[in-house]
Symmetry: C3
Subunit: 292 residues, 3 copies
């Protein structure tokens, strides 16, 4: 027998299930890096527009043994399928052995009826991931919005159901000013603007929408990416969106004191979009008017 070099245990499958649901539809493969401090996962989408970085510290696990640094590429689609089979309260064990270097074993054990499901995943290549993701200092971003993650998901769904750009991806323009963040898209015969005002400190302390703005910013994004990112809502009640015209946008979900999931996405900068922004400014006037 070979020596076990990696053995992790989670007494509730939920966390890992949610992580996989939050990344597997956009990213087909990911790099998993296990070290003494925890698990880091990185993946890039096939069109190189978006990137996800996940950190789960060793403390997130009920048992964490990692004898040496291990890096492996895994197919997320297959893993997501396996995890969909798991019950939320299954006990998960992740295990790799020395010299059996091409697979990792995930075991789900039902505490109820003792049923065991064993999945052996082969390693796959990961197209240039891991990448060096520079830490972008918070001070460099023109605007930051923190809002309930469920609200952000609902907005993405609304925009998706209305937006229609024919063959092209539907584009959303996010505009931030001091008092509100607006999401704008275009349907076949009309336009939609969703206006979220900053929460006044008094009225809803639990689920605030907070805006930190240094400069007004208005950026265009592909809606389908935002839709995928919004699934991070199962991992955190709040999402923080950092925007700057010259940097990739960051959508961050903190995972209860033990890590985070961060989605990075390049804004679209096209003339066509700029024209839309202009149109959108007209909308903004209308909004301002309504509020007065």
């Amino acid at each position: 027998m070979f020596a076990t070099i990696l053995e992790l245990r989670l007494v509730q499958a939920t966390l890992f299930k949610n992580v996989l649901e939050a990344i597997s539809d956009l990213f087909s493969k990911a790099n998993f890096d296990f070290s003494g401090t925890g698990l880091e996962l990185q993946a890039m989408d096939t069109s190189h527009v978006a990137l996800v970085a996940l950190l789960l510290r060793a403390e997130a696990f009920n048992h964490y043994l990692c004898d040496r640094d291990l890096s492996m590429g895994l197919n997320l689609a297959d893993m997501a399928k396996a995890f969909r089979c798991a019950n939320n309260d299954d006990i998960i064990t992740i295990k790799a052995e020395e010299d059996w270097s091409d697979t990792v074993t995930f075991t789900f054990e039902s505490p109820e009826d003792g049923e065991i499901s064993i999945f052996d995943f082969d390693f796959v290549g990961t197209n240039g991931v891991p990448l060096e993701i520079p830490e972008f200092p918070e001070s460099e971003y023109q605007a930051k919005v923190r809002m309930p993650s469920a609200k952000f998901m609902r907005i993405c769904k609304k925009l998706s159901s209305f937006g229609d750009s024919g063959d092209r991806d539907t584009v959303v323009i996010i505009s931030v000013d001091k008092e509100c963040v607006n999401f704008f898209t275009r349907g076949k015969t009309g336009t939609s603007t969703i206006v979220c005002r900053q929460t006044q400190t008094v009225d809803k302390p639990k689920e605030p929408t907070l805006i930190e703005m240094k400069e007004q910013v208005s950026l265009a994004f592909d809606l389908r990416y935002m839709n995928s990112f919004s699934k991070g809502s199962t991992l955190s009640d709040q999402v923080t969106i950092s925007l700057s015209s010259n940097l990739p946008a960051v959508f961050e979900y903190k995972i209860a004191e033990t890590g985070y999931i961060r989605y990075y996405m390049l804004p679209r900068i096209e003339e066509d979009e700029m024209q839309r922004i202009t149109k959108e400014d007209k909308m903004q006037n209308e909004v301002d008017e309504m509020q007065n």
Copy 2:
């Protein structure tokens, strides 16, 4: 700024949501006529078999301002999408401004969290609508059936799940005699007849099935239209079906004292259908027998 020439408000989005669900899958565009007395909507399906006429009197709205008569064509698919995003208790405002003659603005405001969604719809052409729909005097119809709208919807669903005419539309034959209305269709290897007997005054006063018959009538219709019409059940507990061999059938849902929605549909008169009717008569005998 331009003067507001139209401003309507509904404190509950439900009514409008239901109206759009009831018409948008069959009719792609509609003509909206706003006047001092209320909103009239007319649409014809692309194959010119069915027509819908809606009336919502001014009193149906919580606020109704209409300075001059306005007529606009709107794309119902886009509107339905927008309304699907609205919560049932959203406050809707419909607004048009003088000299900004090519769009109308629908605003949904959530009373809970103050989130505002603004939709601007462009005007579209409407292929010959509005039409002159003659008022057909009640006395001209051979038979009238009033029945619970939920029951009518359930019957349409049953017939749809069973009916199968291959590439052609599934045909339903509605036959009315003094005591019952029958719905007949044909599957691949069999036939289905649904028999609804007139309610005896005593047993179920709340949801009666009532038949007024001057002459026995048996007419063939396209099931997919009936299926669409049956969505009117969200607007009224009762549907009234008026049938005559020489007139378009009318399926009418009253909207609580403030209006109605009426679907008009031409019956199919084909030799093939007549043969089916014959077959159906055989069925009828069988039914009669069962009841005796």
Copy 3:
């Protein structure tokens, strides 16, 4: 009028609904044999891999009149559609008349609102069914597993969601030894093994998994058939799987003292599968290890 030669009544449509759901997706036509003792149904799937045999004794019905032995082929897809329209508490009547030899009539009557649906099904040919199914003596089978039918269905679903054999049908290997039954399949980049251990008599008397093994057995089956069979779980809480390398496997669901439904299926014996079994043995070692 013709004399009634067959008249059956069930005061609850549920039983028949469940029977049709359990067979209609795999078997398109079936032979129905009515006799004094009850209804026997037989069907073979189009690829001649699987066979179903159902017995419903006369006592299963609330009323059972059968004047002479009757054999008829019926289209199950049409019947399943008809039954999907029926409510669970509808009263079903099945009726055939002398000299009207080409159809059978199913009538559903709602006890609530008296709505009646009448279905007339034409007889169809049944491709060589009924067949002589030999009674395989229990003693000939190498292994027998009795397990909760819901558990078997869940396992089939798990395997389906993970398994992926591209264009070919997904293959499952069932292996039985004294203490556990394992279900093994292969995804795109990994493998899955579900391990069900025999229940210890003490811990869960209500839903036991029991294994009777004379010889270790490991057989390959098409998953899609197993998936269809597993729908029998609506008819019985337990399923019994009988396996032998030289006999068709039997999946049997008893219907509360009044009959049974038995699915027969040929195992796949291919070199390719044998290689998988080898792989699977490696898995088995792993499982053994886990359990020690």
